[in-house]
């Protein structure tokens, strides 16, 4: 190089760097070397040996890496043409609606690349108001259930649906359908009923029956007795000051519970105005009972007496135009019952009278017609109509099969089957072979039938006996429409084309009628007549999920004449029943058994008993002592020659001499998830004892059965975890929860990080509002790909749910109070878990989140041991593999996992959340994937996040709005305001956790006079 400079081939002097110009000695030596220093020679004198060593090692390791590369040979296929509205990684939301019985809730469904993954509520829908219930959250799993029926099948195996329809049409053509019956479950689709009417016009002799094992018929009939009209009540709990519930679990699995939860909770905020007061008379303990300010345990059959007592007092204090002999008889009959002290009734009536039109009485679906009629009367008397209760006309009440009680309907059908006047039966949904009253022997009648076609999404007891079975579409797969009891109508839009060769009810009706129409066209046709500029409106309806907001209310002033006769008949026929009484109950998780094969719902614990995977016979501690039973004892119940062997659960607060058994368990023909769960209460349920069975004898079998409960310990051990006070105490000491723990000044061992910039996420859970309904839990499960673990793992204490709802009893064993406390990761700023993890797999983010790095986690479980709230969940096994529905995986190498979730189940997974493998710890992330999505969106729009941009899955689903979540530095945010309330507190504050999740103490509003009489 220097020689070039010497020869001066060019005139200009080009230089490479300042060192070049200066031409230092150092630079000279650099220039003369071919490679930089150290690159061309080894420092070690024995360099040849070193070279060989390194080469040898490299070759050896190259070989090793060759073995260990796990590169599956699979062909990937890109979108050759990008579908217009599909952005990979970005979900779309579609409005649709779902019905459980009559209960229609409008939904927004999240769809990732064409597969629905998560259900959320539609804020525009009255019954939803953006919230959902348990069944809606879990329904997405039903769509992907691998146990669904896939093909039309007949006695010879798989057949074509056309063949079945031909058979049906053939049967219908005989004397205009006189030998054919159609059995449906409760249907609230206007198109469905339109098509039924159409079908009946084609085949006038076709008879239609309707049956649901869980129904509201008593209320409908009772109101008809009272008013002579077909109406359905809609309550406004936000206006009610005093609520008296006669066994109505309106916060549980009853009609409109999503809407009611929200309205009820709106009056449980002591900061924002007067709290309501709830009186509850019930036999078992319900979620509503747990929220009650005064709860009285009364056998189901005795609740009517309590109502008479209340009515008697009210009649004596109010001027009524009621027939005097009825009032007299009522007064007399009321005295025959002494289960509730008169002074309590007096106080209750005083409360009712002081709030008058703002008082509300309600009765549960298992109460008799006369109870409902009388409750209507009392509400009218107090002036609640139009204020706290609104009567809407019952949808589809022009159809006689709708207004006829289901029990009468199924009895009539059975009778005709017995007389063989029906030869062909089409069952559209429902499972009568499992849940029809036991005395009707429906199964054997069905078996003898020449032609039975059952349309069902799953194999069940009914499909097992049918001659032809047709798979039924999920609501996310088929076009439809639903009218809710308040008269609002939604279009059900499908989000995915049917996974199997399934048909919707509408499609089945279309196929057997003479119409050549698609379901879409049929649904459109239902509305075409009523609307001009139809196409535009249609698009709007689909987009908003709502056709019509609400139907008109009915003003019912007159009381029907038949009414007093009915009441008097009841008064004279009813006597206090002694002996053991078995009451049947809608299950909080499985409803009537239709969700038996849903793993999320099987595993979600009952709000009160905390049982999973089973039901049990609930009895009171006193009755248990009488028979020498404890939780898990097996007993044999017998009534009228019918037997039921069942495990006992001793439930504090249950009425004495009474047994409650939830329906929907003990299915015999069911998919792999529901197999072998629980006991079939239907064995004791006859058409005479549809609500409760009296005179039951109990035999202690001296054997035990393992019940899997997620919480074995019901007492809080005097620890201030869930904090509670009466309104009176709260008013005197609004910040009482902050003073329940004394501790020395707290200091951290390490420097504490100050989180005062950017977004700082926090949560506040209001225990006054929480009803323990578990919706948050299932929403979280569906959002975060949380596996189910099965009964044996629950027994071992290994449930995976990221949020758990602790239920504590307080007070006497006979009638304790219940307080619920949802506990999820508290996201402590001084997180004890983070400090002890040896591999730093759980660390704190700058936004105050306690993050889990699954890839880094080696599974020492030390974090869980050190977590004071024990909210961390460990994958002890690969639960996705252990799921009974998992399938063998194609093996890619020797040590490959042997199983994986079924291909359809995989479709449900949220792609934004890692599916965790065995051996890693997981826990609530505050839905970090939602935070990051919202942040990206805001960044694209060049703005900061505002309150409400990030909604956690639990918060989104909570029907009571008990969860506030957001940026705690944002003074306009709801969470900031809520956390600044006096009753905000932190659990275990003595540990200096600085938890981001805080609680608002539970406040009850009891009548102080009655409260003083309470036995603790």
């Amino acid at each position: 190089m220097s020689s070039i400079n010497k020869n001066k081939l060019v005139d200009k002097s080009y230089w490479r760097s300042s060192e070049d110009v200066k031409n230092t000695a150092d630079f000279q030596s650099k220039m003369n070397r071919e490679f930089p220093e150290g690159a061309s020679e080894f420092g070690d004198p024995v360099s040849r040996r070193n070279f060989l060593k390194i080469m040898g090692a490299s070759i050896a390791f190259a070989g090793v890496s060759g073995c260990s590369v796990r590169r599956p040979e699979r062909h990937i296929k890109p979108y050759a043409k990008q579908p217009e509205d599909v952005v990979p990684g970005k979900p779309s939301y579609y409005a649709t609606a779902m019905a459980v019985g009559e209960d229609v809730v409008g939904l927004l469904v999240e769809s990732h690349e064409g597969r629905p993954t998560k259900i959320e509520g539609n804020p525009a829908h009255i019954q939803s108001q953006g919230k959902t219930g348990l069944f809606h959250q879990a329904s997405v799993l039903n769509l992907y259930d691998p146990d669904r029926l896939k093909d039309v099948s007949g006695p010879t195996g798989i057949v074509s649906s056309d063949k079945v329809f031909l058979k049906l049409k053939g049967a219908l053509s005989v004397s205009k359908g006189a030998k054919v019956a159609l059995l449906t479950e409760t249907q609230v689709s206007p198109t469905f009923h339109r098509l039924i009417a159409r079908l009946q016009s084609e085949y006038p002799n076709l008879s239609v029956y309707k049956y649901d094992s869980v129904n509201r018929d008593n209320q409908t009939q009772g109101l008809y007795i009272a008013t002579g009209e077909w109406v359905v009540p809609q309550y406004d709990f936000s206006k009610a000051d005093i609520i008296v519930s006669f066994e109505s679990d309106f916060l549980g699995p009853e009609l409109s519970s999503v809407k009611y939860s929200k309205a009820f909770a709106s009056r449980r905020e002591p900061e924002l105005g007067d709290m309501n007061r709830l009186y509850m008379f019930e036999s078992t303990y319900s979620s509503t009972g747990a929220k009650a300010d005064h709860r009285f345990r009364v056998k189901r059959s005795d609740i009517e007496f309590v109502l008479w007592k209340v009515a008697d007092r009210l009649f004596s204090k109010l001027k009524t135009s009621l027939p005097s002999d009825m009032v007299y008889r009522l007064s007399k009959a009321a005295k025959s019952f002494d289960g509730i002290e008169d002074r309590v009734i007096d106080e209750l009536v005083n409360d009712l009278l002081s709030s008058k039109s703002k008082a509300l009485l309600i009765a549960g679906p298992y109460q008799s017609e006369t109870v409902h009629a009388l409750v209507f009367l009392l509400n009218q008397l107090l002036g609640g109509a139009g204020v706290t209760v609104d009567y809407k006309s019952l949808p589809f009440s022009s159809h006689s099969y709708v207004t006829e009680p289901g029990l009468a309907s199924i009895k009539a059908l059975s009778e005709r089957l017995r007389l063989k006047s029906v030869e062909s039966l089409l069952v559209l949904g429902g499972n009568p072979a499992y849940n029809a009253p036991a005395d009707l022997n429906f199964s054997s009648l069905l078996k003898e039938l020449p032609l039975s076609v059952v349309v069902s999404s799953q194999e069940n007891e009914t499909t097992d006996l049918a001659s032809f079975v047709m798979p039924r579409s999920h609501y996310l797969e088929a076009w439809g429409d639903l009218m809710s009891v308040d008269g609002s109508v939604s279009i059900v839009q499908p989000l995915i084309s049917p996974l199997y060769r399934s048909l919707s009810d509408i499609e089945v009706l279309l196929s057997i009628s003479s119409l050549k129409q698609s379901a879409y066209a049929a649904v459109r046709q239902t509305y075409r007549r009523s609307e001009p500029s139809f196409s535009l409106s249609w698009d709007d309806w689909l987009h908003n999920g709502l056709v019509r907001n609400s139907g008109k209310s009915k003003v019912l002033s007159s009381i029907d004449r038949g009414f007093s006769i009915a009441i008097m008949t009841a008064l004279s026929s009813k006597s206090v029943s002694h002996g053991l009484e078995v009451s049947f109950l809608t299950d909080n998780s499985l409803y009537d058994g239709r969700f038996s094969n849903n793993g999320w719902l099987q595993e979600v614990s009952d709000p009160i008993t905390k049982l999973t995977w089973d039901n049990a016979a609930y009895i009171s501690p006193a009755t248990a002592r009488k028979f020498g039973l404890k939780t898990g004892s097996l007993v044999e119940l017998s009534a009228e020659g019918r037997l039921l062997s069942i495990a006992v659960y001793v439930l504090p607060g249950h009425a004495d001499n009474a047994i409650t058994i939830p329906l929907g368990y003990g299915r015999k023909v069911v998919g792999r998830i529901g197999d072998g769960t629980g006991f079939d209460a239907g064995a004791l349920r006859t058409s005479e004892s549809f609500n409760s069975q009296h005179g039951v004898t109990l035999l202690n079998l001296k054997d035990t059965y393992e019940l899997a409960s997620t919480q074995d310990h019901g007492s809080m051990e005097g620890r201030p975890l869930a904090r509670e006070a009466d309104l009176d105490h709260y008013k005197k000491h609004p910040d009482f929860p902050k003073h329940m723990v004394e501790h020395p000044p707290l200091q951290s061992l390490y420097d504490e990080v100050v989180y005062d910039k950017g977004y700082q996420w926090g949560m506040a859970i209001d225990l006054t509002k929480c009803t323990g309904c578990n919706v948050c839990l299932v929403a979280c499960q569906s959002e975060n790909n949380i596996p189910i673990v099965g009964k044996d793992q629950i027994l071992n204490g290994r449930e995976m749910s990221w949020i758990r709802i602790d239920r504590y009893f307080e007070g006497s064993e006979d009638n304790p109070r219940i307080i619920d406390q949802p506990v999820t990761c508290l996201q402590c700023e001084n997180a004890p878990c983070e400090q002890v993890c040896p591999v730093a797999a759980t660390v704190h983010s700058s936004e105050g989140l306690n993050d889990m790095t699954y890839n880094r986690c080696i599974g020492t479980r030390y974090c869980s041991d050190n977590c004071p709230a024990k909210v961390r969940r460990f994958n002890f096994l690969d639960y996705h593999q252990k799921n009974p529905q998992s399938v063998n995986k194609e093996r890619e190498h020797l040590f490959d996992y042997m199983k994986e979730p079924d291909k359809t189940v995989q479709l449900q997974f949220n792609p934004d959340v890692t599916v965790r493998m065995r051996g890693v710890m997981e826990k609530c992330t505050y839905c970090v994937q939602r935070i990051s999505t919202a942040k990206k969106l805001a960044a694209n729009e060049d703005r900061l996040l505002k309150d409400g941009d990030v909604v956690s899955a639990c918060q989104q689903a909570c029907p009571s709005d008990a969860i506030a979540f957001g940026n705690i530095l944002d003074e306009t945010s709801k969470v900031f305001k809520v956390k600044n309330r006096d009753r905000d507190y932190h659990v275990l504050e003595q540990l200096h956790l600085k938890a981001r999740t805080s609680y608002l103490a539970s406040i009850r509003n009891p009548n102080l006079i009655i409260e003083a009489w309470r036995v603790v």
Partner: protein
């Protein structure tokens, strides 16, 4: 006068009984190594190997299925694996204590038993080291715990006591192993020199690393041994202190206790000495080493068992006192729950084994009775296992939120894994008895009267 009484007493303590000569000592110690192994040894080895195979089977099953095959659950995240770990580490305390601390304190009686105890230490620590490795959820990434440089610049969490544990136990193991090996060198050379076959000569020759017994060798040897003893001595205290930090540094009532480090060390010495007694009682009988492992040794160890047993008992009492004195309801509950809760059976097993049974050693008759000390040492081992069980499980199973309380029952896999770990221990121990000199010949000779140039004068 006083001076002479002390001397009298010292003289009475014969470290080697039976007036053995140097040659007789060498013959006695080398005999098991040189003789053909007896039948019972093969039977015992076969039994131990079967248990080892069981351990491997259990670990294989564990790796295949995951830690769910154990009885762990949500509140009880640590079960038998951690109990076994602490148990084995505890046992691994006696050896280094005997060799290093007693060496530094010039306790000459240690020479008869130190080799034996050190071997036990090393094997026990090897058993212990298995458990933290396998108890984690994803065993194949256990190396994340080591500070290995990586492209993510991802280091372990140096605040975690579990990481301190990794360092403490591995350091302890390495130093113990080195200490043991250094002590073995002169004796290995002896066996090499006595070897009758070429193979023996080669193999022992390799491990004797050229020892010729030169003056320089002895000088270096003694210097190295002293330095290693000085390094090992604090480790004896540190390793179990740090193991106790796993518990003490957490905030779980029943774990979060400042008494833990000394209490754990005392407990470890207690259990380690008990294990030495158990094994020595059998070995000295079987190999006819009664003259080298004398009753005097056993009595000394029994005294230490008595002292450490009472230290442990004091700690149990003090824990309860502090639980009450702190006035902290969660702490009080944790301790009452130990004595009265669902695991009371474990607690009272622990108390009777650890506190009550050593009280027999107040009496010289029992201190010198082989059957009594054998039974008591077994009891102490059982009791100390239960102590770790009580600490680990009873604290976890009922912590802050009563809603998450649960009960932990070990599964058959839990139990067989523990049983299998004895297979590893005894396999190694039997190999040691057969192939290595179980008494430190060179060191014993140093404390024999003949080694003292003036011993003639005393007699």
């Amino acid at each position: 006068m006083t001076q002479s009484t002390i001397e009298e007493q010292i003289r009475r303590v014969a470290l080697v009984e039976g007036g053995l000569s140097f040659e007789q000592v060498t013959d006695l110690v080398c005999d098991p190594v040189e003789r053909k192994a007896p039948t019972w040894w093969f039977i015992a080895l076969l039994a131990s190997l079967s248990l080892l195979a069981l351990l491997k089977g259990m670990i294989g099953y564990l790796f295949w299925e995951g830690v769910g095959i154990w009885g762990l659950n949500n509140p009880v995240g640590w079960g038998l694996a951690i109990v076994n770990f602490v148990f084995w580490v505890g046992i691994g305390h006696a050896g280094t204590l005997i060799s290093a601390i007693l060496f530094l304190f010039r306790q000459k009686w240690r020479t008869g038993i130190n080799r034996f105890a050190e071997a036990m230490t090393i094997f026990a620590v090897m058993c212990a080291l298995i458990f933290p490795g396998i108890h984690i959820g994803r065993q194949w990434v256990a190396y994340f715990m080591f500070p290995l440089p990586n492209q993510m610049a991802m280091w372990p969490n140096f605040r975690s006591p579990l990481l301190w544990d990794v360092f403490a136990v591995s350091t302890y193991f390495i130093v113990s192993l080195m200490f043991w090996f250094v002590g073995l060198v002169p004796d290995l050379a002896t066996i090499r020199d006595r070897a009758t076959t070429r193979t023996r000569q080669k193999v022992y020759g390799i491990f004797a690393i050229g020892w010729r017994g030169a003056n320089r060798h002895w000088q270096h040897y003694e210097r190295a041994y002293l330095i290693l003893a000085a390094i090992a001595a604090p480790l004896v205290l540190s390793v179990h202190s740090i193991v106790s930090f796993d518990f003490a540094v957490s905030q779980l009532p029943g774990w979060h206790t400042t008494i833990f480090p000394p209490y754990f060390v005392a407990g470890a010495v207690f259990s380690g000495f008990a294990m030495v007694v158990t094994l020595m009682v059998i070995t000295r009988e079987v190999f006819g080493m009664k003259k080298l492992m004398t009753m005097n040794h056993l009595e000394n160890m029994n005294k230490i068992i008595l002292v450490t047993g009472m230290l442990v008992g004091y700690a149990y009492g003090m824990e309860f006192f502090m639980a009450w004195y702190s006035g902290y309801e969660y702490e009080s509950f944790a301790f009452l729950n130990r004595a009265q809760g669902p695991y009371a059976w474990a607690y009272w097993t622990m108390i009777s084994c650890n506190v009550i049974s050593p009280q027999l050693f107040w009496f010289e008759k029992f201190r010198k009775s082989i059957p009594v000390m054998f039974v008591v040492s077994i009891f102490v081992n059982i009791g100390m296992w239960f102590e770790r069980f009580v600490i680990t499980v009873t604290s976890l199973h009922r912590d802050f939120f009563p809603s998450s309380w649960d009960y932990y029952t070990p599964t058959w896999v839990d139990i067989l894994t523990f049983v299998g770990s004895f297979g590893l221990f005894f396999t190694l121990f039997l190999l040691f008895l057969k192939f290595l000199p179980m008494v430190a010949m060179a060191e014993v000779k140093m404390v024999m009267p003949e080694a003292d140039p003036h011993h003639e004068e005393h007699n």
